[in-house]
Symmetry: C2
Subunit: 115 residues, 2 copies
Amino acid sequence: MVENLKEEVLRLHAQVCSGLADPNRILIIYSLADGPRNVNDIASKMELPQPTVSRHLKILRERSIVRADRDGQTINYRLADHRIIRALDLLRAALADQLKDQALLATQVNENLVG
Amino acid sequence: MVENLKEEVLRLHAQVCSGLADPNRILIIYSLADGPRNVNDIASKMELPQPTVSRHLKILRERSIVRADRDGQTINYRLADHRIIRALDLLRAALADQLKDQALLATQVNENLVG
DNA sequence: ATACTATATGCATATATGTGATTATATGCA
DNA sequence: TGCATATAATCACATATATGCATATAGTAT
């Protein structure tokens, strides 16, 4: 019973994470970091077809990463929880350090080859 | 040029995130939080076939989420950067709050229906 | 009703997943 | 050096899911 609960939470967890697995969706999330945006704003900013953005927003909605508020004709999307930005920033920091280390390693290898 | 760089980093970022998109991989990551483990340990602990775990580990390796160190006959896997645990915990906290809110909302709706 | 905005659907293509069977790699010992 | 063993990775297959785009539908305001 407890195992099922754990598994369910894990599944949800993974579901949230799968919402982050596309570059366009990460861009959308960051574009919402400053405040709400509607679909067309995001689409024109990202230079993507509107249906494509809409589909990504649907995925983000289903995972409760963003919320939709209708305001007249437009629907504004906003982040459901800004901790997602902090989580992404943590991953970016880790990624940056890793790339830095790889670059350093490449330089050292190159120096060894040259020197 | 700068745009290409940004896109490349985003792609990498999404690649890292896609490594988190499977429940079994999240379990593997958490099972490595306490220290290194080899493939068979993880497989028996998770009750999954060894090739399945090996495949997930390959994905995690390709995304530099885990690193492999050979020690004699066994290969021990460890987390490349523990910030990934912090990022996952942030997402879990956000998810937990959200589930709590939903439960609260459900209770309130129920009270309204009953009372 | 009409124009405008946003969402949903259908299709083709591409990628992910789990599992059993097989192969590869490295170690340990004669 | 050569062989046996333990460990891990890969292959092959079926199934499932994700993606992009074009088109169609639904909802809102004037």
